[in-house]
C-alpha cells in the first residue's frame, strides 16, 4: 500500500491531466526498458526485464511429458508467477498469492489464445515431437517479481517474450518401432538444439485510467490513484490476443474501444523496441559465451 498525502495525490492527478507525469513522461510513454537474456544457466531460456524500478525475471524450462489425451498432437504450457515478499512486504502470505494468481491467469489469457489455439502466442503443435506418439514437450514458464514499481504485467509479458526467444529445445530422436499405445523411447541430444519460433508472441500493453485520462506504464504511486486498468495483448499483425480488466470502477463501452485503439498504437512502438532490445541482448549474450 502506498501512503500518499492529499497534496501528492492532487499533484499526480494534475500532472496526468496536463500530459506531464511526475517523472517527466508523457501519458503514453514507457519508462526506459533494460533487458538481459540467458541469465539462468539451468533454464532452457531466461530473461530479466527492468522497467524503471520494476524488475522481473522470466525463465522457461522444457521437459519431456505426455500430451493431454484430448489434444494428442499438442504440447502443454503452464505459466506461473511468483511475487516474492522481498519485493514488497504486502506480498507476504495471501496478498502475494492473490496477485500471483491474478498475474498468472492474465498472462495465460494473453499468451495462450482461445481453446482451439487461435491467437496463441505459443504454437502448441510445435511442441509435439512425433504425431500420434505419446510424447511431447512441456513448457514451464515461471515469472519472478524481484522488485515492484507498478506495471508488472507488461514487464512480465516482455520478459516472457524475451525468455522464449532465448529458449532452445534439444533435438530428439524417437525410436520408430515402438508400439503407438506406449510411451516411446526418446533420445535427447545435448549438442543439437532448435530455436523456438517467437514471431507470434504478443506484447502486453496496460492502460491505467487515472481521473479522466489513461496512461501507460504506471508506477505504483500512479496505480494507487487508478480507477480501472485495461490490459490488452497485441501481436505483430495488430490483432488482439487477449484482454483483461482490473479495478472496480465501470467503464463506458466507448472508453473500452478507445483504450483498445490506443493500446494498438502503443504496442507497435513497444514491439519494435523489444525486438531491437532482444536482438541486442542476444548478441551480447553470445559474445560472452
Amino acid at each position: 500500500m502506498v501512503g500518499l498525502s492529499l497534496g501528492e495525490q492532487t499533484f499526480i492527478k494534475g500532472g496526468i491531466e496536463q500530459d506531464l507525469r511526475t517523472d517527466g513522461r508523457k501519458r503514453l510513454t514507457y519508462r526506459p526498458i533494460f533487458l538481459e537474456t540467458g541469465i539462468i544457466p539451468q533454464a532452457s531460456g531466461s530473461a530479466r526485464v527492468k522497467l524503471g524500478a520494476t524488475d522481473v525475471i522470466a525463465s522457461v524450462k522444457v521437459e519431456l511429458g505426455k500430451p493431454n489425451p484430448s489434444y494428442p498432437d499438442k504440447g502443454k504450457v503452464s505459466i506461473y508467477v511468483d511475487c516474492s515478499p522481498t519485493a514488497e512486504p504486502s506480498f507476504q502470505g495471501r496478498g502475494g498469492e492473490e496477485l500471483s494468481t491474478e498475474l498468472s491467469s492474465a498472462l495465460e489469457r494473453c499468451l495462450l489464445g482461445g481453446k482451439s489455439g487461435a491467437g496463441a502466442g505459443i504454437d502448441l503443435s510445435s511442441l509435439c515431437i512425433v504425431r500420434g506418439k505419446k510424447v511431447c514437450w512441456d513448457l514451464y514458464i515461471d515469472g519472478l517479481v524481484v522488485s515492484s514499481d507498478g506495471n508488472m504485467l507488461d514487464a512480465l509479458g516482455a520478459a516472457i517474450k524475451a525468455a522464449l526467444s532465448n529458449t532452445v529445445i534439444p533435438k530428439v530422436q524417437v525410436s520408430a518401432n515402438a508400439p503407438s499405445d506406449e510411451t516411446p523411447e526418446v533420445d535427447v541430444s545435448d549438442e543439437e538444439f532448435l530455436q523456438f519460433d517467437t514471431s507470434g508472441v504478443p506484447v502486453i500493453v496496460t492502460l491505467t485510467k487515472v481521473g479522466g485520462h489513461y496512461i501507460v506504464d504506471a508506477t505504483t504511486e500512479e496505480e494507487s490513484q487508478m480507477s480501472s486498468a485495461v490490459s490488452v495483448s497485441i501481436n505483430r499483425l495488430g490483432r488482439i490476443c487477449g484482454l483483461t480488466k482490473r479495478g472496480g470502477a465501470g467503464l463506458h463501452p466507448t472508453v473500452v474501444l478507445d483504450t483498445i485503439s490506443a493500446a494498438k498504437h502503443v504496442s507497435e512502438q513497444l514491439m519494435n523496441k523489444l525486438d531491437s532490445e532482444i536482438a541486442a541482448a542476444e548478441a551480447c549474450d553470445e559474445m560472452e559465451s
Binding site: 492473490e98 482461445g114 481453446k115 482451439s116 487461435a118 488482439i240 487477449g242 484482454l243 480488466k245 465501470g250
Partner: protein
Amino acid sequence: MTYCNRAACYLAVLKTGAVNSSSGSAYAEFGNTKVIVSVFGPRESKKAMMYSNAGRLNCNVSYTTFASPVRGQTPETKNISAMLHRALEGAIILKSFPKTTVDVFALVLESGGSIMLYDMVAAVSVSCIGKNLLIDPVSEEESHQDGALTITCMPSRNEVTQMTVTGEWSTTKINEAMQLCLDACSKLGKVMRSCLKEAASAPQD
C-alpha cells in the same frame, strides 16, 4: 454479419429468496446452467482485518463436484471468484457500510455453459468460432471456440465493470461482439429487474 441461428440467450429463469437464512438470495437458470447465490451481511469484519472506511466485499464461487462432465476443478473455475468480485465491486457502494463485510457465496449446481450474474450486474459471454459469433455458448461450443469474450456490465448506467477476451480478434470483431454482449446484458437486466419487482410486490408471509 453472419450469426449462427442461436444468437440469443437461453431463456433465463430467476427466482429470489432461494435461501431463507441469508439477507438476500437468488436462484438462476440458463439452459443447463443452474446457480444459487446468497448474500450475507453487512456484518462486522473479522478482527484480523485492518480498519477500513469502506466496506468489504467477499465473493466465493464453488462448484458441486457433479457440476461439470469431468469431475473436479478445471483451471477456469478457479479464477471465477476473483472475476465475480471485480464485476460486483464497481456496482456496490462500499462506502455506505464502513467496518463491515458483505459476503456473496455462489454455488454452481450444474454447469452447461458459462454464465455468472448477480445483483444488478449482468454478465454475458460470446464465443467466436470461425467467422461466427455465438452468444451464451454451451459447453460443447466452448470447447471448440477460437476466442471468447465475457462482459459484465451495469445496463442502466451503461458501464462495463469487467471484461475478458481470449483468442485472436480484430478490432471490428471486438466491436461487434461487445455490442452483441451489451444488448444481451440490457435484456438480461430487464429480466432481473422485473423479477425483483415481482418479489418485492408479492405479499410477505
